[in-house]
């Protein structure tokens, strides 16, 4: 038994982040710039305000590292929303139970029509998403959906509510090969306030989900935090530590980290700690240097111009042509999606943008065996 990342987190229970970050000196950053691999406190130093002065040399190093590990290649995928029924009350989410939005769950034939439409655009890796409703979208339904889309894609990931190890085993057997699950915020108190009701209020069950998936032998495991809910330095730091802990204990997984930034959504949630572009770039670079082998995803939450500039700084994976409504590709629903899409470019336009940046857009990077 390898314990849990929960125990790792506890090491920082009485750690004074504020004073550490305020006291990072120039020489700490300069030392971190030359170090490989970075220790956890080097990583944290790179998230300090003083590190912003070193953004350019840090970016240069991040680019070198990304090039050596991943080459001039960006992987493309698209999300496919299956159902927006949800028993949770996440204060920041467009799908929360209290929101008076049109609820919809795709039938299997609709799922197939959506899959067909996504794959027509050239996408070969798909990410299936659902709200958390064991009634509307139980594991058996997710399983059927994986089977329904598998002939259109070479890789099927899932971003669904946390499951048991046994459920992950069963979804892998149906053809899933990637799991994406974000802790949203690693700050336990804040997590409790943001998720007041519903099964998602169980912080620990969600925190251990990536580990259960790794034990179930999921190939790709993506972790992350929704930046803007709490202080970004802490959440980026813990997301990085979570990634490193998984990589150390389950070296077989292909680790991915995402840095989604909170955008305005239905329900009028006001982002308490909005990140500037500069801080997002700082986070991305620090993550790249701390976890040189991790894939890093930037979704269409970010606009096209920013996404273009992030290529080469550490990003390895991008969504393209995304729709975040249930049935958004083929069924053209009127209702709002889970979040607002900032980059509305088509798959071909995203590919063109990547080519302009001297990289190769790649749609297939695995096939389920």
């Amino acid at each position: 038994m390898k314990g849990s990342f929960f125990d790792e987190l506890r090491r920082f229970n009485s750690f004074d982040f504020y004073s550490f970050l305020e006291n990072v000196r120039r020489q700490d950053i300069e030392r971190a710039l030359l170090k490989e691999p970075l220790g956890e406190l080097d990583f944290l130093s790179l998230l300090s305000r003083n590190a912003l002065e070193y953004l350019e040399p840090l970016a240069q190093r991040a680019q070198k590292s990304t090039l050596a590990n991943f080459g001039r290649v960006i992987l493309l995928y698209a999300p496919l929303y299956l159902s927006n029924y949800c028993d949770n009350e996440c204060l920041y989410c467009g799908f929360k139970q209290a929101n008076a939005i049109q609820r919809r769950k795709l039938s299997l034939s609709e799922v197939e029509r959506e899959a067909q439409e996504v794959s027509r655009g050239g996408i070969r890796q798909v990410l299936l998403l659902t709200g958390e409703s064991k009634g509307a979208s139980p594991v058996s339904y997710i399983k059927e959906c994986i089977q329904a889309v598998s002939r259109y894609f070479t890789s099927v990931g899932i971003e669904v509510y946390p499951l048991t190890e046994g459920d992950y085993v069963s979804l892998i057997a149906s053809g899933a090969d990637g799991l994406t699950i974000y802790q949203e915020t690693y700050d336990r108190g804040l997590y409790g306030r943001l998720h007041p009701r519903g099964p998602k209020s169980d912080y620990r069950f969600r925190l251990d989900a990536p580990q259960r998936a790794a034990v179930a032998r999921m190939r790709q495991v993506n972790v992350g935090a929704l930046l803007g809910l709490g202080e970004f330095q802490k959440d980026v730091f813990f997301a990085g530590l979570h990634g490193r802990w998984l990589q150390d204990n389950y070296p077989e997984i292909e680790l991915g980290v995402s840095l989604p930034r909170l955008q305005p959504q239905a329900g009028g949630f006001v982002c308490a700690h909005p990140l500037t572009d500069r801080e997002l770039v700082q986070s991305l670079i620090a993550m790249r240097l701390f976890l040189p082998r991790a894939g890093i995803t930037i979704s269409t939450r970010e606009n096209s111009a920013l996404r273009k500039n992030l290529i080469g700084l550490g990003v390895t994976r991008m969504s393209a042509g995304s729709r975040t409504q249930v049935g958004g590709y083929a069924l053209a629903p009127a209702e709002e999606g889970q979040f607002e899409i900032a980059d509305t470019s088509s798959v071909d336009e995203v590919k063109e943008m990547i080519v302009q940046k001297g990289h190769q857009p790649v749609c297939k990077d695995w096939q389920v065996l």
Partner: protein, 255 residues
């Protein structure tokens, strides 16, 4: 005397093998192959999309090349075996580079699983080129299992650190009666020349070429360095010694 590299009975025209991952585009990859005259090129099956008419990597590989699929992404022998079979069915031929990597942090291979996959695939008629940590006992096992070459790593993949495993590779060259192809970690043409001077039969390079400012020119430099290194090996260029050797030896009077 002719110096022809033969693998599995087939004459190989270049001792410089090129990997096709990490390039900024398929046309740039093709140019690097053409300019360097690489004869064997490796292709990761995970990236081959036979359904994509516009962007199938195989379309960009010159006809005269031998395509060697690799099992990148395999975590154990069973996955490597399945990938090899899928590769053959997808039209990649029966040359296979076995890569079994259960460690995504350092990307180091698992020799035991690689030996198991080699046993199975060699029996199925594949020309098997296993990528391994340089280890004499394992190289012997691979040879017994029917491997066509042994491909020890020079240094961890993508590190550009050169022939860090020099002494162990030298032992493989001396003891194993199969072509030794140094794969991974070669960052500069001089590294490739060094591997060839040691007596390697060929080298395989990917990252250093694919991520260079000018991949074609870099591939050409590697290719020339491989030729120079090979000629040096055949010429018997003096190996470095651990101790100084006086040019007027003390026993020189005993003539």
């Amino acid at each position: 005397m002719e110096d022809q590299l033969i693998i599995a009975g087939q004459a190989i025209e270049s001792r410089f093998f090129l990997g096709t991952g990490k390039f900024a585009s398929y046309p740039l990859m093709r140019e690097a192959i053409v300019v360097s005259r690489a004869h064997i090129v490796t292709v990761a099956l995970r990236r081959v999309d036979t359904q994509d008419r516009r962007d199938n990597i195989l379309e960009y590989i010159p006809k005269e090349c031998i395509i060697m699929a690799n099992t990148s992404g395999a975590r154990n022998a069973d996955e490597a075996i399945r990938i090899a079979r899928i590769a053959r069915a997808a039209g990649c031929g029966n040359w296979i580079k076995i890569e079994v990597i259960p460690d995504n942090k350092y990307l180091l291979p698992d020799n035991a699983q690689t030996i198991r996959a080699t046993e199975v695939l060699a029996k199925e008629g594949f020309i098997v080129m296993p990528y391994v940590n340089p280890d004499l006992a394992d190289a012997r096992r691979l040879s017994d299992a029917g491997a066509a070459t042994i491909m020890p790593l020079g240094a961890p993949i993508g590190t550009n650190k050169g022939v860090c495993m020099r002494e162990l590779i030298k032992i493989l060259v001396q003891e194993i009666n199969l072509p030794i192809v140094v794969d991974a970690g070669l960052g500069r043409p001089s590294h490739a020349a060094e591997a060839m001077e040691l007596g390697a039969s060929a080298v395989l390079v990917n990252t250093a070429v694919a991520t260079a400012q000018d991949p074609a020119l870099t591939a050409q430099a590697f290719s020339l360095a491989v030729r120079a290194g090979r000629i040096a090996y055949r010429a018997g260029v003096a190996a470095p010694k651990d101790n100084a050797e006086p040019s007027s030896p003390l026993t020189g009077f005993l003539r």
